[in-house]
Amino acid sequence: MSILLKNIIRISIILFFQVFIVTKIPPLHQFIVPYFYFVLILWLPFKITRINLLLMAFLIGTLMDWFFKTPGLHAAASLLMAYLRPYLVNLLLPKEATEWGNEEPSTKTMGSVPYSIYIVVLTLFHHSYLIFLEWLQFGSFLYFIGKLLATGIVSLLMILIVDLFFNRKSKSR
């Protein structure tokens, strides 16, 4: 399957789940609103150029904003994450890894420990910025910290499930 087709299918499935299933479930607590749509940006291939990465993040974020009716909120958070992604990949991987072809970040291509660090750090960046922007308009500091922790943990769990569900087959090193 071509890489473009694969990504288009993946984007539609994950956005559908995020918008119509996960966020329709009555929340356990006001702090817990799991988001996992940004794994789409984390899973884009290594070789994608940084400009395309930013544009993709803006597109996905804006799509989310249309459904959640929060103009610019998710787009801003996704952009920050996409901007930081190449730096983190360079830190975690030996140089030549970035010259791979259509490989995507996964436990198999990166190794499980670097991959976990990659996911956790970028999720934290995304969530802190998202909740920070929400907090600027609304709520107290306790709200910010509480929501960041609770939502972060639940989101990471969701990403683990999504990762297992998609079970992406990449060539091992």
Partner: protein, 282 residues
């Protein structure tokens, strides 16, 4: 000049990042209920169509509750029909005036337009509903939206077949409310925490507020029919700084579970607006 191009080329990614980030933050911080008209139009037509298809399936899950609510409302409405009521005083001759019901629409102040809710949220900080009714069906900005149990919100964006409603669970939502028993004007807002509770402020302490008292829309409202239910008081707190209460109100409408709504058209609304403006000019 060459250096400028070199600079741009070198920092192209960063510059693009800043531009896109700027666009997002600008649209985030300048958006409020007034600007939302434009945003409501784009997302209303694109996201609205997908939302509608999904909602067709979703509706089956709440069918039983919805049925129950409609049956209760039916029973209530049936009891309102004049022919079902017995006159208390038989000495007075009563003529059922058909004109009163509505033939020239002179006595009718509020018209109700039934609409299906096709998307809804309760857990965000700014909650909106989308209704499957728009300008083609006569919806305009600032109309009130009610559920079968009480007030839902205000129309803030309209497109051809969809309208965007700011629900009471929105940080910018403000509705003037009174206590059904003690009167006293107050303001209903939402603190963004629990979608089951609203906050009622500015009710003076001279009014007696008790747990369980009903909170209704103000008789001076130009949108909501006076006396429409908003909720019941769940907790009474005294504000130590001012002479007012801070009341926790449980919503009458179960926001996580609404499927149908009525858009309320105030037939005298334009006239009220006109006379207000006239007064201000003079």
């Amino acid at each position: 000049m060459r250096n400028v191009f070199l600079f741009i080329r070198r920092y192209a990614v960063f510059i693009l990042f800043l531009i896109l980030q700027g666009i997002s933050l600008y649209s985030l911080f300048t958006s409020n209920r007034f600007h939302n008209t434009y945003y409501g139009m784009i997302s209303g037509e694109i996201a609205g169509d997908i939302n509608r298809r999904v909602n067709n399936v979703e509706e089956y899950f709440t069918l039983r509750k919805e049925n129950q609510r409609l049956r209760e409302q039916n029973a209530f409405l049936l009891s309102q029909i004049p022919s079902g009521q017995v006159l208390a005083d038989t000495a007075v001759k009563s003529v059922t005036d058909t004109a009163y019901v509505d033939s020239v629409k002179q006595n009718l102040q509020y018209q109700y337009l039934s609409a299906k809710i096709i998307s809804n949220s309760v857990f965000l900080q700014q909650n909106y509903l989308t209704l499957h009714r728009g300008t083609d069906q006569g919806v305009v900005l600032n109309m009130a939206v009610m559920g079968t149990d009480g007030i839902i919100g205000t129309v803030v964006g309209v497109s051809k077949n969809m309208s965007l409603v700011m629900s009471l669970l929105h940080k910018q939502s403000k509705v003037i409310a009174v206590l059904k028993k003690g009167s006293g004007l107050g303001e209903i807002t939402w603190d963004g925490k629990d979608p089951r509770y609203l906050v009622l402020r500015k009710i003076p302490k001279t009014v007696v507020a008790k747990i369980g008292d009903e909170v209704v829309s103000s008789p001076y409202s130009d949108k909501f029919p006076p006396g429409s239910s908003i909720g019941r008081i769940e907790e009474v707190r005294q504000d130590s700084e001012t002479n007012t209460y801070i009341l926790k109100v449980r919503t009458a409408v179960d926001f996580s579970n609404v499927q149908h709504a009525f858009i309320v058209k105030n037939l005298l609304g334009d006239e009220m607006e006109e006379i207000k403006n006239k007064q201000i000019k003079e």
